[in-house]
């Protein structure tokens, strides 16, 4: 006990003595936590620092919404927080545009943009540039759900055999959750989607806060169907050595989500910043996207691992609600949705 105590005290002492060393921050990139920790951030940093005389610093302490809030607060206080921001999703496009946070960039400054699928170029002002995209779909545990009689339409999902079998995410707190809400609005119209949600309620085990919570529940076997991504089988094969978790396509659709990056207004390094965006779109970096982000790269020339190519599903009919319609109605949609789901 005594030795334990002494070690602990020593540890605490060491911690208190060695304060963090201050570093200067010439080129700052705000992004979300997973992009920096396991995503391609460190490769980007190395590649960029090899060709540019800068010290790239990724700041990623939370999800992208919190980071965007931080950027906004800094702007309001007249501070330049970052040079580049990575991680704005399509649903936020129009609202982000109104805040005028990002510099509009001529396409010729980002040569690799030419290779990107034009369907992903959703920002008319050209200031936000896509770097990856993916599809929200349901994913099921093939050991607990019959594959032969699998749901193929939205209506199938209302069937009594799926009672308490579905885990969803909260559209207010998570990107997949919002995608599914928008997807139902696309399918049933406004206000028809509310009826669908009313009928779906008995089959929902829970509406978890975020994707992580939902996937935890799914992995723990609490319910066999979860709202997730169409790349999950590939993830399951590459990370767990089994294709047990399979993608369920409804109406042959998947809700398409595109993720964007942009140069922050007021940066003093505009040239570097556009070079940086170009680097993220290069085939070397884009080839890292599949197995670090579990997304499809924006640049189709990127190399995909065989198992990703084999197991990641591309839904034949991608669905998207326009950013303008979202900006117009999101407040009301979320409110109406909450009223349907509350107290269930």
């Amino acid at each position: 006990m005594r030795t334990l105590l002494v070690t602990a005290v020593a540890l605490l002492g060491v911690c208190l003595v060695c304060f963090g060393q201050a570093a200067d921050t010439p080129f700052v990139v705000y992004t979300y936590d997973s992009f920096a920790s396991w995503g391609p951030a460190s490769s980007i940093e190395q590649a960029f620092e090899a060709t540019h005389p800068v010290d790239v610093r990724f700041v990623a302490v939370a999800d992208s919404r919190s980071m965007l809030t931080r950027l906004l607060q800094e702007r309001q206080a007249g501070r330049q927080g970052a040079d580049v921001f990575i991680g704005i999703e399509a649903a936020e496009l129009a609202r982000t545009q109104r805040l005028e946070l990002f510099v509009s960039i001529p396409p010729e400054d980002v040569p690799n943009l030419a290779a990107v699928d034009p369907a992903l170029l959703l920002d008319p002002s050209g200031s936000l540039i896509p770097y990856e995209h993916g599809y929200i779909t349901f994913v099921y545990d093939s050991e607990h759900v019959e594959t032969e009689t699998l749901a193929r339409t939205f209506e199938d999902l209302l069937d009594a055999r799926y009672r308490n079998q579905i885990i969803l995410e909260d559209p207010r707190m998570s990107s997949p959750g919002l995608s599914f809400l928008l997807w139902t609005i696309d399918r049933y119209g406004d206000p028809g989607y509310l009826d669908y949600w009313r009928q779906l309620r008995p089959n929902i085990l829970t509406v978890a806060g975020g994707w992580g919570e939902a996937y935890d529940l799914f992995l723990a076997g609490e319910a066999p169907i979860v709202l997730s991504f169409s790349t999950d089988t590939a993830y399951s094969v590459i990370d767990h050595g089994s294709a047990r978790h399979k993608v369920m396509l409804l109406q042959n659709q998947g809700y398409r989500n595109v993720y964007f990056m942009g140069v922050v207004q007021g940066t003093e390094h505009l040239d570097w910043a556009t070079d940086f965006l170009d680097l993220v779109l290069s085939t070397e970096i884009q080839s890292l996207i599949p197995t670090t982000e579990w997304m499809f790269p924006a640049n189709p020339e990127a190399l995909l691992p065989v198992s990703f190519y084999q197991y990641a599903v591309t839904p034949p009919q991608p669905v998207m609600v326009s950013p303008e319609a979202i900006a117009e109605n999101l407040d009301r949609w979320l409110r109406e949705w909450s009223l349907v789901i509350l107290g269930g």
């Binding site: 334990l4 105590l5 602990a8 005290v9 911690c15 208190l16 060695c18 304060f19 963090g20 936590d33 997973s34 920096a36 920790s37 396991w38 995503g39 460190s42 190395q46 610093r57 990724f58 700041v59 990623a60 302490v61 939370a62 999800d63 919404r65 919190s66 931080r70 906004l72 607060q73 800094e74 206080a77 501070r79 805040l99 909260d170 207010r172 707190m173 085990l205 829970t206 509406v207 978890a208 806060g209 975020g210 919570e213 935890d216 529940l217 723990a220 993830y235 990370d239 767990h240 050595g241 089994s242 047990r244 579990w294 999101l330 407040d331 979320l334 909450s338 789901i341 509350l342 107290g343």
Partner: protein, 563 residues
């Protein structure tokens, strides 16, 4: 006399100045946002909230779940305090230090533990189904109100236990002994003597638990689901998702007003209950491990508690050592290897070991800050004779009642501008944590101060001791339990805090809970569990160390062995 008063005034003025700059000024911005439109004062955003039936339902549910959570936390915490006061058993002081560990765990860790253990497919249900040959899981508490209430009790019962047992140990056993000699039975003695004397500690902790549960949000979503969203979820939605700052601020203002009303109500009630109790009491304890039929209920409680705590935490531990591969669950050290790998995240500056160091440094700073700010205010509250003392007591508790989302944003906004201009950095985080933590020091110290016998201090003063001397030699040792509990809680609050940290931290100042969050966001579920276990181990060691040293610093051995 005047010099002394002036000196005392200065001692209380400094913490108040700090609060004004670091808390009330940011809060003012929040109020301005929620109460003005185009520069003009308006109640519109606030009344909009009140006429909306949706918000009313959310508020009613928020209060309801907080009420049940408080009740269950007391039901668990009170017997727990009893066990720690009346019995002795091996490793008692270490176990006492460890009781506060659940309080600091990130909501993710607790959620994962609860899902793995109490889930419909969890270990508990699987065990029960196996033993009793059942077809379907017998315990379905998750994804409903009971799951939320149980998780809140998991977090908060230790708080009740700590605060109540600090009070219990101050009760002179002579009272109950004389009642016993007069023929009062066990129940009568408890209801008539012990319970009223425990009331201050019990009510303090109940109030803290209530406000905590009232403001809780990630755990409510994780274990209850969006069907059970609280007010805090709405604040998050308005601020972070919709950028609708006025409505978000209006909701935050409403939340703070409600919390302050609860606090004020409690402070009014507390005044009625405070009874003078002795200062330094020696309790005769009985050995716990001696079987008798009369102890059946006691052991039932202990076993239930063990299941409640060891179950979920053990499940997280098991999760950190296993992974599924090709349909099998295999034992592995991969997750620990991953979080200790030096190249992991080295470029980002948030390697896990760095996060350990960050967490400890920040918590140590916040603990010191909370003591420096909290103790003078506690003295002012307990000893001050001025008008509006109760109102003052309520207002200094305000940080407890502020939405963490709104506070994070407000602090960030304030720290980016003069006069504070700290930006993102260690000091900003420490200040934020100090603000969140000092109310605990006040609440831990005030009931004990109020119950203190002033006799010895007055005797010392009449013998010529200076006020400072009397404070150091007599009062400080007498209130050391309160100080220690306050310090430990402040440390714990800082270790577990996430919302403000997320807003203020630079990557090199990421704390352990943020890394747990990261790991899971990056699909490293096992890594998140491994990091959670590391967090538990580190906090456990830190608490044991703090309490050992704290007891020595505050003169623990001086009084408890004698008298």
């Amino acid at each position: 006399m005047n010099v002394r008063r002036a000196r005392r005034g200065l001692l209380i003025l400094l913490p108040l100045l700090f609060l004004a700059a670091a808390f009330y000024y940011p809060l003012l911005r929040l109020f301005r946002e929620g109460l003005t439109e185009n520069g003009r004062f308006t109640f519109r955003f606030l009344t909009d909230v009140f006429v909306d039936p949706y918000f009313l339902r959310v508020i009613v549910f928020t209060a309801k779940q907080a009420f049940w959570s408080t009740l269950l936390s007391i039901a668990i915490g009170l017997p727990w305090a009893y066990v720690f006061t009346k019995y002795r058993f091996p490793f008692k002081s270490t176990l006492r230090s460890l009781t506060i560990v659940p309080f600091v765990l990130p909501s993710i860790t607790v959620a994962v533990g609860f899902i793995l253990f109490f889930g419909n497919n969890g270990y508990l249900n699987q065990a029960l189904m196996f033993v009793f040959g059942l077809e379907s899981p017998p315990i379905r508490i998750l994804y409903s109100l009971p799951g939320i209430v149980l998780a809140h009790a998991f977090y908060n019962a230790p708080l009740v236990a700590r605060m109540v047992s600090a009070q219990w140990e101050q009760i002179d056993p002579a009272y109950t002994e004389s009642a016993r000699s007069l023929g009062a039975g066990r129940v009568r003695r408890f209801a008539g003597i012990t319970l009223p004397m425990l009331m201050p500690g019990l009510m303090t902790s109940s109030m803290l638990v209530f406000i905590f549960s009232f403001l809780s949000f990630p755990i409510v979503l994780a274990l209850g689901g969006a069907q059970f969203a609280t007010l805090e979820v709405e604040i998050y939605t308005q601020f972070i998702v919709l950028f609708n700052e006025p409505t978000g601020a209006a909701l935050a203002i409403l939340e703070i007003i409600l919390s302050l009303l609860f606090t004020f109500g409690y402070i009014l009630l507390e005044g009625r209950f405070t009874r003078p109790v002795g200062g330094r009491i020696h309790h005769a304890t009985e050995p716990l491990f001696r079987w008798s039929w009369g102890r059946g209920l006691l052991w039932l409680f202990i076993v239930a508690c063990a299941i409640l705590y060891i179950g979920p935490l053990g499940s997280v531990l098991a999760d950190s050592f296993t992974r599924s591969w090709a349909g099998h669950t295999v034992l592995t050290l991969d997750w620990y290897a991953a979080i200790f790998r030096p190249e992991y995240n080295a470029l980002i500056g948030a390697a896990p070991l760095r996060a350990v160091q960050n967490s400890l440094q920040t918590a140590a700073g916040a603990m010191l800050g909370a003591l420096v700010v909290g103790v003078p205010i506690a003295f002012a509250v307990a000893r001050g004779r001025f008008r509006g003392r109760r109102l003052f007591d309520t207002v200094v508790m305000a940080p407890l009642g502020v939405s963490s989302v709104a506070l994070g944003a407000a602090l960030l906004a304030a720290f980016l501008r003069p006069p504070l201009q700290l930006g993102h950095g260690w000091l900003a985080i420490v200040l934020a944590h100090t603000i969140l933590a000092y109310p605990f020091v006040i609440r831990a110290v005030v009931p004990i101060l109020e119950g203190l016998d002033r006799g010895p201090v007055e005797a010392a003063r009449s013998l010529g001791a200076t006020g400072w001397r009397a404070f150091l030699d007599i009062e400080l040792p007498l209130i050391r339990r309160g100080l220690l509990v306050g310090a430990v809680l402040a440390f714990a609050i800082s270790l577990g805090e996430m919302s403000a940290t997320i807003m203020l931290a630079r990557p090199e100042w990421k704390t352990m809970p943020l890394v747990v969050n990261d790991l899971r966001a990056a699909r490293s579920f096992g890594g998140a569990s491994a990091m959670s276990c590391l967090l538990m181990a580190i906090t456990a060691i830190a608490f044991v160390v703090i309490e050992r040293f704290g007891a020595r610093i505050f003169g623990g051995t001086k009084w408890s062995k004698s008298a």
